[in-house]
Symmetry: C2
Subunit: 287 residues, 2 copies
Amino acid sequence: MNIIASNKCHGGYWKRYQHFSNSCQCEMTFSIYFPSGYQGSYEFQQAPQSSSLPALFWLSGLTCNDQNFVQKAHVEQAANQFGFIIIAPDTSPRGIEIEGQDDTYDFGSGAGFYLNATREPWAKHYQMETYISQELYAAVVEQLPVDHARVGIFGHSMGGHGALTLALNYPEQFRSVSAFAPICHPVTCDWGKKAFSGYLQTAAEALRYDACELIKQGKRVTALMVDQGDADEFLAEQLGTEALIDVCQQHKIAAQITMRPGYDHSYFFIASFVAQHLAFHAEQLTS
Amino acid sequence: MNIIASNKCHGGYWKRYQHFSNSCQCEMTFSIYFPSGYQGSYEFQQAPQSSSLPALFWLSGLTCNDQNFVQKAHVEQAANQFGFIIIAPDTSPRGIEIEGQDDTYDFGSGAGFYLNATREPWAKHYQMETYISQELYAAVVEQLPVDHARVGIFGHSMGGHGALTLALNYPEQFRSVSAFAPICHPVTCDWGKKAFSGYLQTAAEALRYDACELIKQGKRVTALMVDQGDADEFLAEQLGTEALIDVCQQHKIAAQITMRPGYDHSYFFIASFVAQHLAFHAEQLTS
């Protein structure tokens, strides 16, 4: 893990790292907030002396890299309050050459959809599911002062989809989950159809990358918090919030899904409610 | 004033405007945060019914436009607490064609230095002093629900220089002032020398655009708050903090100049202490 930036903020530190990802077969970049107040080492190391801190993975949306959340969400004070380490990965493989990777904002670079691609030419690099849930997860849990029993995940839009599906598929890794304006039912919207038909070989494979379908299949999370702006420009066409509300009711998932009047799809919305999400995760991860 | 963006954040609204500036003879863009809780109109209008809110002008640094503070400073909660309207202007004229305007990051576009240029070809457009202190100031005080007796100014780096010099030169307009990592003594540093020799006809003109020189000349502010990171990469060569400390001591200016261990020159530093600056302004503007 090579540190490429370090900035003190609210007494803690944002650090940005590059490393070669075996899953994605390329250099990947991610950022971590180390909260203030912790007395041990804030570095990746073999066998850290402490494993006391809770951690949250943040997954960003289409067009983002690891920096959007770092710069705009303003999570630091809440992270300090609850002692969370926050890990913000990139949204796709980078620095590779695949024809068409940069043609549209919603497929290829910046649009990895947190899945493992099975269709060529994407399959060699686009293994974001394994990258987040196995490779980066293992580095964080094994080489940082993190309590593996207190790791949660949250995200926004495409990253909200990622958080929901990874929490449903990997409940042992991610013990709490929340999302801002997630793509709740991607097999039914244009963003999801484009991504799944491009990255996957069969429609059947897509069913494990759709939160509503996973719940119908019997996958479960202990609880779920979702915030959604009612002025969100993507709500009607892409997000499928009603489908998630319905499936959570049908399957008795403890879901706290709140419509927020006047809020849109931007990080202004995320910044407004991020402290409440951290409080939710802190409560889930201590109970 | 044409609204080009509006985003709800923490119950208030960031709105972004474009207008033709008579001072700068071009279209200028600025952003305003309207705090939550206020019940009247949040629009520019002739003869607003209320003039109850305090306001702060924020001046950004080199390379910035009006969006850096909006996206990264996270001022909203403190603005709501104290009821501040916050105005974030751009840092230079835009959309014009002057040879060399985009050649370097510290002169021309994004580097207006909050002065009135007297040297051609800059003089026609680069009138940021008049733009901020007269034109935009008048629009805010006359067309928004702002109490003209409770208007302050603050800024960062080049914008810290702007805040200090405008507060010293226009004490009736700006009744409180603070700065993050300001260029305190620009006539002695490379940034200032380049700007002043490029925009101004004579060295004598520069003396009214240097906070230390203005204080030596007898200009005064009631009080002054400055925060400075001791890990700031520009501290040694450009910022002249020691000169400001010395001149404030010599001239008995009530200056609260604090070195912040480990903080750098970035918006991570600004976000960490912006709430304390708003508390300082709120206190200054009520006493």
